[in-house]
Symmetry: none
DNA sequence: CTTCTTTTGACATTCTTTTTACAACTTCAA
DNA sequence: TTGAAGTTGTAAAAAGAATGTCAAAAGAAG
C-alpha cells in the first residue's frame, strides 16, 4: 500500500505562475528593526502592501482594526508572545494565513505550530525567496484559488484531502511521489508545466533528481490512470516544453 | 577556504540538456579558481552563458556594463565584500535575482540575508543541483514579465500562459521554437525585427544557427496562421531588414 | 534483511530544428 | 527595361533533441 505521508511543506507546494499581482496587505510582526526594514523591502518589491508592528499587543490591535491578507509573525515578541497572537488571530479568523518565523529551536516540535494554528513556518536563517514562496502559497491556499480538493474526470475520482484516487470505483494505489505529481498537475490543469518547475514544486530543492525522473512518473501516472496509456488524453506531453494535464 | 566539495562528476550528470532554453547570462562572483571552474561547467552544461568575476570590484563593473539575468555571489570576496556587492546591485536593480553562496557560519543570523536583499542562498558545501534549482527558481520568478498574455486577431487567439494558439476555435499546434518566435513577434508588434535580433532573443546565446533558420520558422508560422500563406498579412517581410508582425 | 519506492541509464522511437538547394523575388544601376 | 547581385520563399533531406519505455541500481521504510 502506498504510504502517502506528504510532508506539510510539500502539501502546499503548489505554485501556479503568479502573473500580475493583485497582492494585498501583509502584516509583519517583528521587533528587530533591521529585519523589519528588510521584510518591508522584500514584500514591497513583490507588490504587497506592508504594515509592521513591533509587539504582540499592537499586532492584535491592528489585526482587529483591519485584517490583512496574511500575517508574518516572529514567535519571539515583547508584550504578547507570538504564540498568543497566533492563537488569538486564528480564533477570530481561522482562514487568515499566518506564516511563522522561528529559530530552529523553537519548533523542535512541529506539533506546536499546528496547535498554534500557523499555516506554515520558516526557520532562521531563512531564504528570503522561501519566505516569499510560503507566504504566497499560504495566500493562495486560503484566499485565492480554493484549491481543488475533489476531481472527477473520465472514470477517475481524486480526493486530495483523503489522498485517495479511484478508477471506476476501485482504489488506485499511487506512491507518494506519484500522488504529489498528480496533484500538482491537476491543480494546475491546462497549464504547461516544465520538468524544472515540477522538480522545484513537487520534489523541492533538497532532492533534485534528473529530469528523466519526471518522465518516469508521468509514465506511471499514465499507466495507472489513462484508459489507453499509449495515447494519453489527460497527461499530455507538450514537446520541448513539459507536460500538461487536461481534464 | 576552498573546501567546497563540488563533485565534478555531479556537475556533468546533473541533467540531460533540457531543450532550447531562452537561458541567459549568469554572473558568477567567486574567487576560488576551482569553484569558478566547477560553476562554469555546471551552468554552461545547462545552457546558460557564464561570466566569472573574481572580486567585488570587477563584479560591480561588469554588472554596470551589462546586467546579467542572475548573479551567483560568494559572500567572501577580495576588494569589495560580497555583502556590499549585493547591497549595491539590489539598490540599482531590485528585481535582479541574486543567489548567495556562503559558509554556514555566515548566515547564522537571519538578518543578514534579508538585509542584503539576496533572493536565496546555498551554504557550502552545496549540491550543484540545489544551486541550479535555486537559480532556476529565481529566474523563473522574475522572468514572469506578463507582457501580453492574450492576443486576438483575424481568427487567431493566443494564450501565452497556456501556450496555446487557436485558429477559428481550433487548436493550432506550434512547436516550441515556433511558439517562442510567434510570441516574440507578437509582443513586439509593428516593429521590424532583424533575423539577428530574433536569433538573439528567441534562440539565445547557446544555439546560434544560420539566419535561414529564422526564415523557415516564419514560413511555418505563415503556413499555420495566415489565411493565405503565400501573401502574408500578419507576418510581413521587410526586405533587407527582417520581419515584422502586424495585427 | 526484505520489500517497496525512487532514480538512473540505455535504447528505440518520434518529433523538431537546421541545413541545403534552387526557384522566385527585389533592388539598383546601367 | 534589363540584368546582375543580393534576398527571400520553399520544400525536402539531414542532423539533432526530446520523449517513451523498460530494466537495473540505488535508496528508504518497515
Amino acid at each position: 500500500m502506498g504510504n502517502l505521508a506528504i510532508p506539510l511543506s510539500a502539501a502546499r507546494a503548489v505554485n501556479p505562475p503568479t502573473s500580475a499581482k493583485p497582492a494585498g496587505r501583509i502584516l509583519v510582526v517583528e521587533d528587530d528593526p533591521a529585519v523589519q526594514k528588510a521584510l518591508r523591502r522584500l514584500f514591497e518589491t513583490e507588490g504587497y502592501a506592508v504594515e509592521i508592528q513591533s509587539d504582540g499587543r499592537s499586532a492584535l490591535d491592528s489585526f482587529q482594526a483591519a485584517p490583512p491578507a496574511a500575517i508574518v509573525l516572529d514567535l519571539r515578541l515583547p508584550k504578547v508572545s507570538g504564540r498568543d497572537v497566533c492563537k488569538e488571530v486564528k480564533a477570530l479568523a481561522p482562514t487568515l494565513p499566518i506564516v511563522v518565523l522561528s529559530a530552529a529551536s523553537d519548533v523542535s516540535d512541529k506539533v506546536l505550530l499546528l496547535e498554534l494554528g500557523a499555516d506554515d513556518y520558516v526557520t532562521k536563517p531563512f531564504s528570503p525567496r522561501e519566505l516569499l514562496a510560503r507566504v504566497r502559497a499560504a495566500l493562495r491556499h486560503t484566499a485565492r484559488t480554493p484549491d481543488v480538493q475533489l476531481v472527477n474526470f473520465d472514470g477517475i475520482t481524486a480526493d486530495f484531502k483523503k489522498m485517495e484516487v479511484k478508477r471506476d470505483g476501485n482504489v488506485v494505489v499511487l506512491t507518494a511521489q506519484e500522488f504529489k505529481t498528480f496533484q500538482f498537475l491537476v491543480q494546475n490543469a491546462d497549464r504547461v508545466i516544465s520538468r524544472d518547475e515540477l522538480l522545484n514544486e513537487v520534489w523541492g530543492y533538497q532532492n533534485y533528481p534528473s529530469t528523466r525522473t519526471v518522465d518516469n512518473h508521468i509514465l506511471k501516472l499514465r499507466q495507472k490512470l489513462e484508459k489507453d496509456p499509449s495515447s494519453p488524453v489527460h497527461f499530455r506531453t507538450v514537446h520541448g516544453m513539459g507536460y500538461k494535464f487536461v481534464r
